[in-house]
């Protein structure tokens, strides 16, 4: 395959992922176009791009979901292709179709494949048809009475989801009949609000499940390879916070079986682009298809670190018709990589999102470390976007070194001005069960007490209090005043 090449690509995203995509565009000598809402004027991704186009919307998120405006921006700036990143319009079949109709290249699969994989039911049926195992389930419906009747028939525990959903929205685990109707009602209402599709879906919930996913690359003509698996079992609120490659303690034969199932699915779908096939793995070794994400994944850097393959470059070359970058037999794995998602949230308050301002950012510099971010000191952290602030990705020759390095890097990182989960992530990595690779998606709640922050050492607490006191101007003035002050101290403000 020879294919075409792009000279300019619009990145229809923001934050760390827009910056990460543009880094590869730069390396490939391709010009980049960023989009931004007025609320993010001057943001890192907009500064990094060759050109930045402002898009309008009632909210910043609404602007980033306005496909028509984004396509216009691409046409006006002369971009030939659109890279959607993850989230926003990345798995929107209608957008992919509009991009193609505008004569541009969507860096992703065909709209029909997005639609096929974007629906829990059609993707599940497709997987089943092609010999990929699926879990017993209730067909999606808006009829709550029928849903409850069928769900009760499967038995508990049950996992309830929005049929069109993702990202944990509308999801819950129901363990007995009494909670079923309310959980279904909430799921249906969230499904309607966020996806415009009120259908809900339920399936057998696997106890102590592990989340194992396989990175695939497909050429769109039935060719596909896998780049190994990732384990993303450490989650809170149904969202991943720590991911690693390869999975710990996964027997080689089972790993091969799972990766082969993913490749089978990608080939059957004539999948084009980088994609991820997600599975749930039970303690008994049974695994079930969860879904396929038809885009670059948040946690893609761990795969890049162990394979040495730039997934964004692969996406762009595949979209340009240049085919797969390598054959399966040439895929090599080296060492172990761990990603920690740094979020503006309070682990002590059920991981509720937090707001604030990036008052201080100091990032350790190591050749085994990637710190994916688009942060600027002074910029507000608002509730406008997802609470993920950055990703800290460390590589090591083996899993225990990757764990040690991740802990050291988290300890060394300063991101101050908003409550984050940085210290919490360090405690997860340091937990004996994590070190032993004894993971499942209930890890965070199972080890809740052990993962709580311990009381500080008295010396460190006193040092912190002294440092903070001396950072208050009124207090410092009292300490430094000449002659000795007689006045009492008033209000303490920064």
């Amino acid at each position: 395959m020879s294919g075409k090449s792009f000279s300019k690509v619009l990145v229809a995203n923001r934050g760390e992922i827009a910056c990460r995509v543009m880094r590869t565009l730069d390396a490939m000598g391709i010009a980049s176009v960023a989009i931004h809402h007025a609320a993010e004027a001057g943001a890192a991704h907009a500064r990094m791009a060759g050109e930045a186009v402002e898009i309008a919307g009632d909210t910043p998120v609404a602007a980033h979901l306005d496909g028509r405006q984004i396509i216009e921006a691409a046409l006006e700036t002369g971009a030939e292709a659109i890279h959607p990143g993850y989230g926003f319009l990345s798995e929107n079949a209608g957008f992919a179709r509009m991009v193609a109709e505008a004569g541009l290249t969507f860096i992703g699969p065909d709209a029909d494949v997005i639609a096929l994989m974007g629906d829990k039911i059609s993707s599940r049926n497709f997987a089943q048809k092609h010999g990929v195992p699926v879990a017993p389930s209730v067909m999606p419906t808006e009829e709550l009475d029928e849903f409850v009747r069928q769900a009760e028939a499967i038995g508990f525990p049950l996992l309830i989801k929005a049929s069109a959903g993702g990202g944990g929205k509308g999801m819950s685990i129901v363990r007995e009949a009494s909670g079923l109707r309310e959980a279904a009602r909430i799921a249906a209402s969230e499904a309607q609000r966020y996806f415009g599709d009120g259908r809900v879906y339920a399936e057998t919930y696997v106890e102590r499940p592990r989340h194992i996913e396989v990175q695939v690359l497909g050429d769109g003509e039935g060719g596909a390879v896998h780049l190994g698996e990732r384990e993303c079992s450490v989650q809170r609120r149904f969202q991943k916070i720590i991911e690693e490659a390869p999975a710990a303690r996964l027997p080689a034969s089972l790993r091969d079986e799972i990766c082969e199932a993913a490749v089978r699915l990608a080939k059957a779908a004539k999948y084009r682009n980088a994609g991820t096939v997600e599975f749930i793995l039970g303690a008994d070794g049974r695994f079930f298809f969860l879904e396929m994400n038809t885009r670059l994944q948040v946690e893609h850097p761990v795969t890049e670190m162990v394979t040495g393959i730039d997934l964004v470059r692969a996406q762009i070359e595949i979209a340009a018709g240049k085919g797969l970058p390598l054959a399966q037999k040439d895929v090599r794995f080296e060492g172990h990589a761990i990603e920690c998602r740094i979020c503006a949230e309070d682990p002590e308050r059920d991981f509720m999102p937090e707001t604030g301002r990036v008052a201080r950012l100091r990032v350790p510099d190591r050749d085994w470390l990637r710190f994916e971010n688009a942060l600027d000191e002074g910029r507000a952290v608002t509730a406008d976007f997802d609470p993920m602030l950055a990703k800290l990705v460390a590589h090591g020759p083996d899993r225990s070194m990757a764990v040690e390095r991740s802990i050291a890097a988290l300890k060394d990182l300063a991101l101050l001005g908003v409550t984050t989960n940085i210290d919490y992530l360090g405690r997860v990595l340091d937990h004996p069960a994590f070190r032993a690779g004894d993971l499942h998606t209930g890890f965070v709640s199972e080890h809740r007490e052990a993962l709580a922050e311990a009381e500080p050492e008295p010396g460190i607490l006193a040092a912190a209090l002294a440092a903070a006191a001396m950072g208050l101007r009124e207090f410092r003035d009292l300490v430094e005043a000449v002659p000795e002050p007689h006045a009492t101290i008033g209000g303490w403000r920064n």
Binding site: G168, R349, M352, P387, A463, A467, G491
Partner: protein, 166 residues
């Protein structure tokens, strides 16, 4: 008057004991010899490196891989808060009210859902912190609020109130 710094709801006091020949601070009742320079604090002869970040009234100090989120206590505001005394359901994060499960005047049991809010695209049920009666719904369906804002006010059940006064 000692400086009060609040950490996770707990107050810590810091007083200047001596300024010369070296600074001595009484921190939570214990005297320490202190010297602070940019990025480092010496406490009783031991050096600690730190990072700091200040935003509004919040003073973040990071030492040895641990972040302290400190706030100087304003004595005036504290008195106001103490004068309240009503049971309040506060918003745990900024968002909007999706639905109300209770109306003003309704009785609620501890843990019962009073309203459902939505924030960061997630719906969360807010429950009654104790048995009581809904006195006032401050934020109605569709209305937005900031973090820590009072959304519903509770008063004790009348029988409880009688018991308490008798």
């Amino acid at each position: 008057m000692a400086l009060q710094l609040r950490l996770k709801g707990r107050e810590h006091s810091i007083e200047i004991v001596a300024r010369r020949p070296e600074l001595v601070l009484r921190i939570d009742g214990v005297e320490h010899r202190v010297a602070v320079m940019p990025g480092a604090v010496m406490l009783d002869g031991r050096a600690y490196l730190f990072d700091e970040g200040v935003t509004g009234d919040r003073h973040f100090v990071r030492i040895d891989g641990r972040t302290f989120d400190l706030e100087a206590v304003d004595p005036d505001l504290e008195e106001e808060a103490a004068a309240g005394g009503l049971d309040v359901i506060r918003a745990p994060m900024p968002g909007a009210v999706v639905s109300l499960a209770k109306a003003e005047g309704d009785q609620v049991r501890r843990g019962e859902t009073v309203l459902t809010i939505e924030s960061m695209k997630l719906q969360t049920a807010l429950t009654a912190p104790r048995d009581g009666v809904i006195e006032r719904i401050v934020r109605q369906e569709g209305q937005t609020f900031d973090k820590d804002e009072a959304v519903v006010l509770l008063v004790p059940l009348e029988e409880d109130a009688r018991e308490q006064t008798s």
